[in-house]
């Protein structure tokens, strides 16, 4: 690698700690001028922490940052910007009601005698956008343009302030294909001009379209830096997930349901279900007594798919069938009426009602289905709560403890209990084992399996492939917000899933 140009940016041994957590430990990272460098890793791998350490949001506990061979230590994003490191965030943080030109120069308006020189401001903005080859009227409010153009305006602003290192944090997540292509053209042009560009994305395909170099992070550590051309997609996925595949590993014994899996008719089916900006059309069928896995990297659309199936988001395309009968699903209430339950990924925001007691949390969904005027008696509530506290072994000082005071695993069990009480026919579990200890994980997995044996259809979403392989008879694989493969029976093994994640159906 000695023939390469000197890196413009070098981060060495960056360690960032939060109370109780090491978010980054000793990460090295470098960027070269005239290159697009992709930073890859699952959620929580440390991507955004690294960016924030670079742009001065977090102060690293250890490590050095060199920009053009000068040691730097930015105290804030503003300082970083002055040094030549600009960031364009996922959510465009400009003012939609101001004009394009104002947005580019806000805070740096050309002034004379306390007056803003509008003509000059607009002229400069026009010149800048022309240089980026973007054709627009800079006096129009920003909101008049699409998100893609807004992204470009944000980039223009960043470039005009400083132009050594440009960080693009998930710039494509809210763009459609055409807009992505437009943005990529711009990025390539900037790269050819010699800018060092850091590109963070969940989309593997886009990484390969655009980047020259990839750094993979996992669990706050650097897995490695690779030339994009030297790193096949499958290897990349392995490195992100952290499981090297040996031939023969991960073979799964056929579960009993596989034997006659196809003989069982579908219980719930989704046909071309889609929501613009969230999920591409997908088909999915789940059968009685089956655990259907939903695999894919974080951000691949797993939660989005689950929310569509539960009516938490309203699909704008496609339809849902309950035992082959079409039904309208426009709210979680409707889903619950059809016997669907949903343990959401974000327990705190979407699940637990912290100040209510464990008892109240457990009976909530059942009571909601019964309605206001058919209250469960206190005795009945206690009976239910006691039964599920015992059955799921929820560690609580009693049914009257506020649920928010329980540990993550126990909160998960409370939400699980909430749905089991409603006796659902189809239960969607979005990351049911995330952030809970190993023991509780095992218990939840065992419970899921016993529920399916009793005839419940289960959609099991997990980023831990090992879990998916262990308990699912069938696995649908998502990538870039689309379903790309469905694996059945003997195909359900980690290697095949990873291959599907990396390049879709072979």
């Amino acid at each position: 690698m000695s023939a390469e140009a000197l890196p413009i940016l070098e981060m060495q041994g960056i360690t960032v700690e939060f109370p109780g957590v090491k978010a980054l430990s000793g990460v090295d990272f470098r960027m070269f001028p005239g290159e697009v460098h992709a930073l890859m890793g699952q959620n929580g791998a440390g991507k955004s922490t690294l960016i924030k350490a670079l742009t001065g949001v977090y102060k690293p506990k250890a490590g050095t940052i060199k920009l053009a061979d000068q040691l730097i230590s930015a105290g804030s994003p503003l300082e970083a910007q002055k040094l030549g490191i600009s960031t364009v965030y996922q959510e465009v943080n400009l003012c939609p009601n101001l004009s394009v030109a104002e947005n580019i120069f806000i805070g740096r308006q050309p002034m004379r005698f306390g007056r803003i020189l509008w003509q000059e401001l607009n002229r400069k903005a026009r010149a800048l956008m022309e240089r980026l080859d973007v054709d627009l009227d800079v006096t129009q409010p920003l909101a008049a343009y699409s998100v893609a153009i807004q992204q470009m305006v944000a980039i223009a602003r960043a470039l005009d302030i400083s132009a050594k290192v440009l960080i693009l944090d998930e710039p494509t997540s809210s763009l459609d294909e055409k807009e992505v292509e437009l943005l990529f053209q711009l990025i390539r042009r900037l790269r050819d001009d010699g800018l060092a560009i850091l590109f963070v994305t969940h989309f593997i395909d886009q990484t390969y379209q655009l980047s020259d170099r990839i750094t993979v992070l996992r669990n706050g550590e650097r897995v490695g830096e690779f030339k994009t051309a030297d790193l096949p997609k499958l290897k990349l996925v392995e490195k992100m997930i952290g499981r090297e595949m040996d031939a023969g590993e991960g073979r799964k014994a056929d579960g009993p349901a596989n034997v006659n899996g196809h003989a069982v008719p579908a219980l719930f089916e989704a046909e071309g279900l889609a929501l613009k900006g969230s999920m591409q059309p997908f088909d999915l069928a789940v059968r009685k007594g089956e655990i259907l896995g939903l695999a894919g990297l974080l951000g691949s659309g797993r939660t989005e798919a689950a929310r569509l199936l539960f009516g938490a988001d309203r699909a704008d395309h496609g339809s849902l069938l309950d035992e082959h009968k079409r039904f309208a699903l426009n709210s979680p209430q409707a889903a619950i009426r059809h016997g669907i339950g949903f343990c959401p990924e974000d327990r705190k925001a979407d699940g637990i009602i912290g100040e209510l007691t464990v008892r109240e949390n457990i009976i909530l969904a059942l009571q909601a289905r019964l309605g206001v005027f058919r209250p469960l008696s206190r005795r009945k509530q206690e009976e239910i709560a006691d039964r599920y506290i015992r059955m799921l072994d929820i560690k609580t000082s009693g049914p009257e403890q506020p649920a928010g005071k329980l540990s993550g695993g126990n909160q998960q069990k409370v939400i699980l209990a909430r749905w089991l009480v409603t006796d659902p026919r189809f239960l969607i579990l979005d990351e049911p084992t995330r952030g809970i200890d190993v023991g509780a994980k095992g218990e939840i997995m065992a419970l899921v399996q016993s529920l399916s044996k009793d005839g419940m259809a289960i959609l099991f979403i997990s980023s831990e492939l090992e879990e998916v392989v262990r308990c699912c008879q069938r696995v649908a694989v998502l990538r870039d917000h689309a379903k790309v493969a469905e694996l059945d029976g003997a195909q359900v093994e980690e290697h095949a899933i990873m291959r599907a994640i990396a390049k879709g159906q072979e």
Partner: protein, 352 residues
């Protein structure tokens, strides 16, 4: 591993009702010492008279509004239009009963434009409509509650003035006076109204799943949606109920002063009512609510007002005194404050 059972003292002071009740008790104790005759109750014409009865009677509208507002605040909402609804309800009932003195010879004759029950029902129906409007804005349009109900403050007072024609309508129809001035079994009639509404509300909130849903929505609306609770209709009902409570309060106020004043009836009631709810232990952020606490809160406010007058605080500083007492009560309700000031009094375990 089990924590030791909390002591009796701790259990009592931990109860939400403890602090408002203590504040009320202290205030009464203060009166026992400083305002002679405060506890004196006499029987005149079979009715009970005295400062205590007076406080109960005067606090009736505030107690009613506080009950309704408690539910709204529990959903993490707010209704600042209750005062305007008081004015509308009063104006409407006064207009329907008619504001003209009818004399037959030298004797006053009690006549109404429409039968009194119809007038009352109409006033309550319009109050309910006002509440539906608030609820619609909040639950369907998704407006912030304070903004949504602010609209009705302006529009409501306007409507009330429109109804009264900008004048104060005086009511001469005697049977109507009973609502705000009458006595039943020796006690003010308005008190029975409050008790009935309180009882009904407690039954509705705690006897059905309503209370649970309201609290759940106040704490975590997103999780409620996921659990299948229809927050929209619930909010609609809660705002409507609150406005109806304000409407009933309007009837009492109007009957009590025998007139309807679109401008001033119920003025600043919303502020006193919010105060009463908070004094009663319900947090402005929503969640757990305490209906009886709010009623006690309303009594605290009225007792305070009466006390200030009866011990002869100069009128120019009454508001300051009131504010100071309210401040003290609020501070003592806060567990954080008590711990900071009294250290280990709350059996706080020292942090390492």
């Amino acid at each position: 591993m089990n924590p030791p059972a909390p002591s009796l003292l701790r259990r009592v002071t931990g109860a939400k009702l403890f602090w408002p009740v203590l504040a009320l008790a202290l205030m009464l104790l203060f009166n026992l010492a400083y305002s002679p005759g405060f506890f004196h109750i006499e029987i005149k014409d079979g009715h009970l008279y005295g400062s205590l009865i007076d406080i109960l009677n005067r606090a009736a509208p505030l107690m009613l509004i506080s009950i309704g507002l408690t539910l709204v605040i529990a959903t993490s909402g707010i209704d600042i239009s209750v005062g305007a609804v008081v004015a509308i309800s009063g104006a409407l009932v006064a207009m329907l009963i008619g504001g003209t003195l009818v004399l037959k010879g030298n004797v006053q004759e009690y006549v109404t434009l429409v039968p009194m029950p119809v007038a009352i029902l109409a006033a309550l129906a319009v109050s309910a409509a006002a509440g539906l409007w608030n609820g619609f804005l909040v639950s369907r349009i998704g407006m912030q509650p304070i903004v949504a109900t602010l609209i009705l403050i302006v529009a409501g007072r306007g409507a009330a003035q429109l109804i009264t024609g900008g004048q104060i309508i005086t009511i001469y129809y005697k049977p109507y006076f009973f609502i705000g001035n009458g006595f039943l079994l020796g006690l003010p009639f308005s008190l029975y109204i409050v008790l009935a509404v309180l009882l009904l509300t407690v039954l509705l909130a705690r006897g059905t799943a309503l209370g649970l849903f309201i609290e759940a929505i106040g704490i975590n609306p997103r999780a409620c949606r996921m659990a299948g609770i229809n927050a929209k209709n619930l909010l609609l009902c809660v705002y409507t109920f609150c406005a109806v409570c304000a409407g009933v309060a309007g009837l009492i106020v109007c009957s009590n002063v025998k007139s309807a004043d679109g401008n001033n009836a119920g003025l600043f009631f919303e502020l006193d009512a919010i105060l009463a709810v908070v004094l009663g232990g319900t947090a402005m952020t929503g969640g757990k609510f305490y209906l009886v606490g709010s009623v006690v809160g309303a009594l605290i406010i009225q007792t305070l007002t009466t006390t200030i007058y009866s011990i002869g605080v100069p009128p120019e500083i009454t508001l300051v005194v009131k504010a100071f007492v309210v401040f003290l009560v609020m501070m003592f309700q806060s567990g954080t404050f008590r711990r900071t000031v009294f250290g280990s009094w709350g059996k706080r375990v020292a942090k390492p």
